[in-house]
Symmetry: none
Subunit: 407 residues, 2 copies
Amino acid sequence: MQEVIKKIQQPNDTKIVLCVLDGLGGLPVGGSTELEAANTPNMDKLARGGATGHHTPVAVGITPGSGAAHLGLFGYDPLKYEIGRGVLEALGLGLHLSPNDLAIRGNFATVKYEGDTPIVTDRRAGRIPTDENVRIVSKISKEIKEIDGVKINMTSGIEHRSAIVFTFPEAIPEGGDAIHDTDPQLEGKSPIPPSGNNPEADKVASVVKKFVNRVAEILKDEERANYLLMRGFAVRPRLATFSKAYGLDAACIATYPMYRGVSKLVGMEVLEVEDYSIKSEIDTLKQDFGKHDFFYFHVKKTDSYGEDGNFDAKVRVIEEFDSFVPDILELGPDVIVVTGDHSTPSAMKAHSWHPVPILISSPYARGGGAESFGESECLKGELGTFRAVDLMTLILSHAGRLQKYGA
Amino acid sequence: MQEVIKKIQQPNDTKIVLCVLDGLGGLPVGGSTELEAANTPNMDKLARGGATGHHTPVAVGITPGSGAAHLGLFGYDPLKYEIGRGVLEALGLGLHLSPNDLAIRGNFATVKYEGDTPIVTDRRAGRIPTDENVRIVSKISKEIKEIDGVKINMTSGIEHRSAIVFTFPEAIPEGGDAIHDTDPQLEGKSPIPPSGNNPEADKVASVVKKFVNRVAEILKDEERANYLLMRGFAVRPRLATFSKAYGLDAACIATYPMYRGVSKLVGMEVLEVEDYSIKSEIDTLKQDFGKHDFFYFHVKKTDSYGEDGNFDAKVRVIEEFDSFVPDILELGPDVIVVTGDHSTPSAMKAHSWHPVPILISSPYARGGGAESFGESECLKGELGTFRAVDLMTLILSHAGRLQKYGA
């Protein structure tokens, strides 16, 4: 559909705000889902006058990861484009990636040795504080700058997390990033030695293997972070930017690295946010509202509390976001969308496949469907249930940014 | 899907009437859409007993042109098949098209000359009366019959419109019709000289260029229609006929050229209608009801008044059509469908992307969904929201014309 949209896009000066409450959708506990239990007078009003429905994040019955779910919301079919976690992590930490780059998510871990064999005793190295992480990464970076002509760049993340970028002398061939995670997923097991799914990936994996062993040598005297597990080996996919695909100058307001990363991948400008609060994100939106056409506004904690199984805390985050809706409205955007990237029912403590309630507020909504913003009410709305990958088309039309198709 | 249907179609003697109220869908003004505001007791009754829902004409969020929207209703995916306006215009005026034919929509215009350079002063030549058009086309046709071995056939349309068919000695190669419109779209600008997007189209365009210059010479003393602008250069797409695709002997009852054109393209017999009134179309339906299996019955004015922004007049056309529903029922068709090809909300004065309400009346509808025929009520219906391209499959099943699929 992006090919079609590229031909019929017509720029104008409308402003669009896409609010993504991560993991918004839920399951009822005592009769109501988190969204239904929350007191959300502002979103309820938008739902009554707006177009409502549900979106299916990736495909019917599929539980998406956050990267895949966001790609869908942004109009890139996640069944066609895959983004490895390494790429998301690296971009989120502000690293640039070229086709020569292999990106990997690193997790510091604690191992004990049985003879020469490392056994994982803590997959997260006791969630070391971030400054300990920074010290260790700096130690590794001083010792290892290059292996077999491959440049290595390591960056600290939060707690035990890091991103590593291997820059090869030339573009990594297709399939060259098909390398198994080294994280054994279970404590008491040995890390899995890096190996590829095909000969190209094996060549790449041989460099990774040397790196892992040298890191283990460098960290051998550390008390907690004495090993590095690696996940999500990936080369960046080629995606049309929001500017090319949709004619939109787009900006990202998100606090967590992965969401900032996926936004960068589609060409959004990632805006600075003072701290992790919704209030700070709103401040950024207000400050930069004049500078872009499209704002992706991300709220993380709905998902986090869903994953924790904390129904009430998820409700409170939804209510907190709702209290800022008038601030968004005051800016006078032409189109406001509120939805989630996927469902994270606190009853399941996990992402799920359930379709996600959505509202689109614009002058071109029929309205009169849902009486409030919630899973059951949105079933009455004019949008029905549609694939998330079609959302951008709808948004562009509601913003008057698409010409008609065909004679 | 047509490939599947071709295998499982089973002819019978059922009669189907597909009523398309052009641009039927709307947006609420004072709480109701045009269809909801209209007093439509007959369609309301059909909706209560029938299957209701919405269809998405081309794709979610896409605003279709009328040709693309009709292709979808007829079961040909408009994202796969594109029909140029020239082809629709030519077929609508009763011209036959072969793969050797390039069809073009011509608009008589008024130009003034600055030196040798024509400047468009009226893109529609003051909407000259049709008989003036006929006189001028006859004058051109006498003078130009052939250029470089290419036969030229020009036919008058309504007011300033015409269709021109260039018949080449052999089939036009793929891409040969990729010629830019010569209409500059704005008055005060020069017509754009015919040129192609590729070498094949350039060859074709060189003949068009000679034609345009000769026409300008012939018309130089005309007061109003002294130039010919050309749009929608196109070769006919290859579509399976209704007879082959569905086993249906189909007929078209429509008054406007473009709709008659698209019907001819899919192999319908285009029936004569005495004048532009719905009454005359009903008379044709009554007269020829015994002769065909499938009737496409088109009402144009709903769209025209939508485009004019005339809510009340659109309501009245809907009510007028409703008053003829008993006449259709009296003929005893097995399946009646009422829908639009797309939405044309008078609030927008334009086509839009909004899903279109639909009712299917047949003995196999579950019924009991919508309480009347309107956008909001149809959301309660059993059909949900589906792509228009799937409608013909539904219709054929409701007519008992499809065997089961698979063992």
